[in-house]
Amino acid sequence: MDIALQLLFTGLGIGSIYALVALGFVLLIRAASVVNFAQGEFSMLGAYLMVIFFTGFGLSYFLAMILSVVLMAAFGVIFAGVVYWPLRHRGQLPVIISTIGASILLANLVLVLYGPSPQVLPGVFDAPGIQVGPVFMDSQYLTIIVSAAVLVGLQYLVFEKTLLGKKLQATSQDKEMASLLGIPVATMVLITFAYSSALGGLAGILVAPILFVSVGMGALIALKAFAANIIGGFGSIPGAILGGLALGVVETFGASYISVPYKDAFAFLTLLIFLMLRPQGLFGERIAEKA
């Protein structure tokens, strides 16, 4: 039982990372109907920016973090302009393929600049963690869980309580109608890209002390986050969060009780099962085409 609780904690920790990345995914899907296969690279870039500012320039941890996240937001806007904007009327497939191309481009550019060896990034706190009852709460995992919860809470407040949040919601529900009301739709989409990119970057910064900073760190996280989206219900915000947490827990338990080397397979197996049996996921709608 003690082990189960410990695994639960760890699972929620890594699950929170998946949830954050999945959240970045789903916001882009809702706002721009874009399935962004480069979402993982946002996390990777965020982590590398931390390496530049913290390890390279010697800035304080929090200053480096803020700078990195802000730069990632700016990057999100550039990304939107290059990868999404020219293709926005051409259908789903070209955009998907284009984001795949962007994913490769980004990963390999960083590879050229930094080489394949992983970089080390320390955690936020020096203390290794605290013991709460039978569970040892690693300080970084704790940071992740708390940060994710705070972020989701803040996002909820923005979406539900501010006018901007309402406009963002309106844009994702009916773009043309939003534009008919005078809501600047293009700006809303860019804001969403910026936020999604910043979110991804933050996730990368939070998980870097655990996974090391490497060129490929984002890819696997993104795939699992995408799986989390589908499991939770494609296009659903609570689905993204719950799907991410659930996937983290399933994966951790699976690795511990069944097999460690195939840990990554659990995410994909769960995904395949959902796709076969319940493609709308836990909270999603039916998928159908109108004649």
Partner: protein, 240 residues
């Protein structure tokens, strides 16, 4: 004073030419209705005015200013509110939030002002008050139409474009909707109304235009149009 003027409006939308050289005027303070059977080009006319139709030629002028080539967001800021066919209430937002967003075109309007204007809307549409926090997707057709009109009025428009407000509504609700339309004009907003239900439209309008396959068939005062056999033929064919 001429508020809206269309000259030789030609539009390509999806298929071939949907509008073929349409001329139309709306004077300030009027209700003008655009009639015709389905596919006649009525909705396309409104969409063209709102900037939603990319391939238009001819001219569209609001108080003398040309709207051709302007984006929808800019057009709505000039004072044209469009209540589209099918209402298109945001399904995931509440009635209050939907109405509130109707003021999005008002640059510089503070949140507090918009909130109190929204309260004002609930005075004009008291039946909506109990639905204030209901989500858009839970509403019935008639309720949706009221919310859509309220949302349109929030923009404090000079010209309100109403696209088929009676679509899919039961006759009794339709009467309610048209009472609201008459009321809007009484409060000083000019209305361009597209309707398939010729009878109801002509009962509130000052003037009407009848379209057939993108062209103007006949125009005039409601009584003249109602007794004109061409109008009936435009809908039901043949000479009745």
């Amino acid at each position: 004073m001429k508020l809206l003027e269309l000259q030789g409006l030609t539009a390509r939308y999806g298929a071939g030419d949907v509008l073929k050289g349409l001329d139309l005027t709306v004077d300030e303070g009027e209700i003008v209705t655009l009639l015709g059977s389905n596919g006649a080009g009525k909705s396309t006319t409104l969409r063209a005015i709102s900037g939603l139709v990319p391939n238009v030629s001819g001219d569209i002028r609001l108080a003398g200013q040309s709207l051709i080539g302007m984006k929808p967001e800019a057009i709505v800021r000039l004072g044209i509110a469009h209540v589209p066919e099918g209402r298109r209430i945001f399904p995931g937002l509440t009635v209050r939030e939907n109405i509130l967003l109707g003021g999005s075109n008002r640059r510089g309007a503070r949140r507090g002002v918009l909130e109190s204007d929204t309260d004002g809307m609930f005075e004009v549409f008291p039946d909506l008050k109990r639905l204030e926090h209901a989500l858009g997707w839970t509403l019935s057709g008639g309720q949706l139409q009221m919310v859509a009109v309220a949302r349109g009025l929030m923009a404090q428009p000079r010209l309100l474009l109403l696209d088929e407000p009676s679509l899919g509504l039961a006759p009794l609700i339709v009467q309610q909707v048209f009472r609201v339309v008459a009321d809007i004009r009484a409060r000083g907003t000019t209305v361009l109304l597209v309707e398939q239900n010729a009878h109801m439209a002509l009962s509130v309008a000052d003037r009407g235009y009848v379209l057939e396959t993108g062209r103007l068939l006949v125009s005039g005062k409601p009584d003249d149009l109602w007794s004109n056999p061409q109008v009936r033929a435009a809908y039901l064919g043949g000479a009745h």
